[in-house]
């Protein structure tokens, strides 16, 4: 029966549905691609925010993007800590 079925039956799910799903994911990734310039700006923003509380090793800092599950992109920041500033306790 198998050869008979494969002769007369088209693919079970239309290929258009597959195309649509693949496109959605590919485009989501394309749209969330961060340019190197934007990554540099983000790095400066992060340094400024974190440095108020924590003394970090700027030279050893890495910021990258990575594809997570389901194609979603995520920002990965790897920031070596030198020391925690002591006056953190007061939030003023």
């Amino acid at each position: 029966m198998n050869w008979f079925n494969s002769l007369f039956r088209r693919e079970p799910a239309g290929s258009a549905a597959v195309a649509k799903n693949r496109l959605k994911i590919a485009i989501q990734i394309d749209r969330s691609n961060l340019s190197p310039e934007l990554l540099n700006v983000l790095q400066d923003d992060i340094v400024r925010a974190i440095s108020q509380r924590v003394d970090i090793d700027r030279a050893g800092m890495r910021i990258t993007t990575e594809r997570g599950e389901g194609g979603q992109r995520r920002i990965i920041a790897d920031i070596p800590i030198k020391s925690v500033r002591s006056k953190v306790a007061s939030s003023e």
Binding site: F8, R10, G14, A16, L23, I27, D30
Partner: protein, 271 residues
């Protein structure tokens, strides 16, 4: 009133930008609009052959921007349609021979004498695309219902928005209604959902495009074919008319019906 500059672009090559530009030019000119078509694909000139005007070229776009020819001298008048004129691309130069400021000046010089200035953009996202987009008042994105073309269209839409142009409109080209019906081709709604822009026209796959281009007579010269009629409707929408989007008839020949009957799982009851 000053003319409107419409840039036709796509990102991916081979989806029908030049055919679209030529046929929209023809369809608008048939409706008594004064149209100038500009081939911005410098080094890979093609709008001239699609329009059937390749034997009449003396000067090209680079001659105009570099001052070797006046605009009037470079404009080729289409003998079939008095309202249609074309500026060819240069064939022996590269895309850097023209810059966006020169394109804007050229378009501005044409605005007084034409109702529509159609710019045929080269494929890609670099220099030639930036030239084509610089003077645009409106941008039409051409795509086919294929993953590669739709993905590139999405990139181009992002770049058009980054250039602070009005939101582009979509021409879905080479749609095959039979395949869509079988679930084997992205439907218009699928493409619109993914790209999130407005539709300005659907052009069905049509062999007459090939035969008419072979002869240098764009299908829109006579709007008897499905594709020719589709370009006519897009031209009307460009002119601001509210034209409903047609539904394309499926292949209803006996052979077409029989072959579908054999292909479907339970004898023609396919979705």
């Amino acid at each position: 009133m000053a003319g409107t500059v419409v840039t036709i672009t796509s990102g991916k090559g081979g989806v029908g930008k030049t055919t679209t530009t030529a046929n929209l030019g023809v369809a608008l000119a048939r409706r008594s609009k004064r149209v100038a078509c500009i081939d911005a694909d410098i080094g890979l000139r093609n709008l001239d052959v699609v329009l059937g005007l390749e034997n009449r070229i003396v000067y090209d776009i680079v001659d105009v921007v570099e001052g070797r020819a006046r605009l009037r001298q470079a404009l080729i008048r289409d003998k079939r349609l008095p309202e249609l004129q074309m500026i060819p691309a240069a064939q022996t130069r590269d895309k850097t021979a023209v810059n966006p400021q020169q394109m804007m000046k050229l378009a501005d010089d044409l605005r007084n004498d034409f109702d529509f200035i159609l710019i045929d953009s080269p494929a890609g996202i670099e220099h030639g695309f930036k030239n084509a987009i610089a003077p645009a008042d409106r941008v039409l994105i051409v795509t086919t219902p294929e993953v590669s073309a739709v993905r590139d269209a999405d990139r181009i839409i992002g770049l058009v928005e980054a250039a602070e142009k009005p939101k582009p409109q979509l021409i879905l080209n080479r749609l095959r209604p039979g395949m869509v019906k079988r679930g084997d081709m992205l439907a218009t709604e699928d493409v619109l959902e993914i790209l999130a822009i407005d539709l300005i026209g659907i052009v069905p796959e049509d062999e007459s495009i090939i035969t008419s281009t072979n002869r240098g007579n764009p299908v829109a010269l006579e709007e008897k074919t499905a594709a020719g009629a589709a370009y006519g409707r897009i031209a009307q929408r460009l002119m601001g008319e509210d034209v409903p989007f047609g539904v394309f008839a499926e292949n209803t020949s006996l052979f077409g019906r029989l072959s579908r009957w054999f292909r479907s799982p339970n004898g023609g009851n396919g979705a």
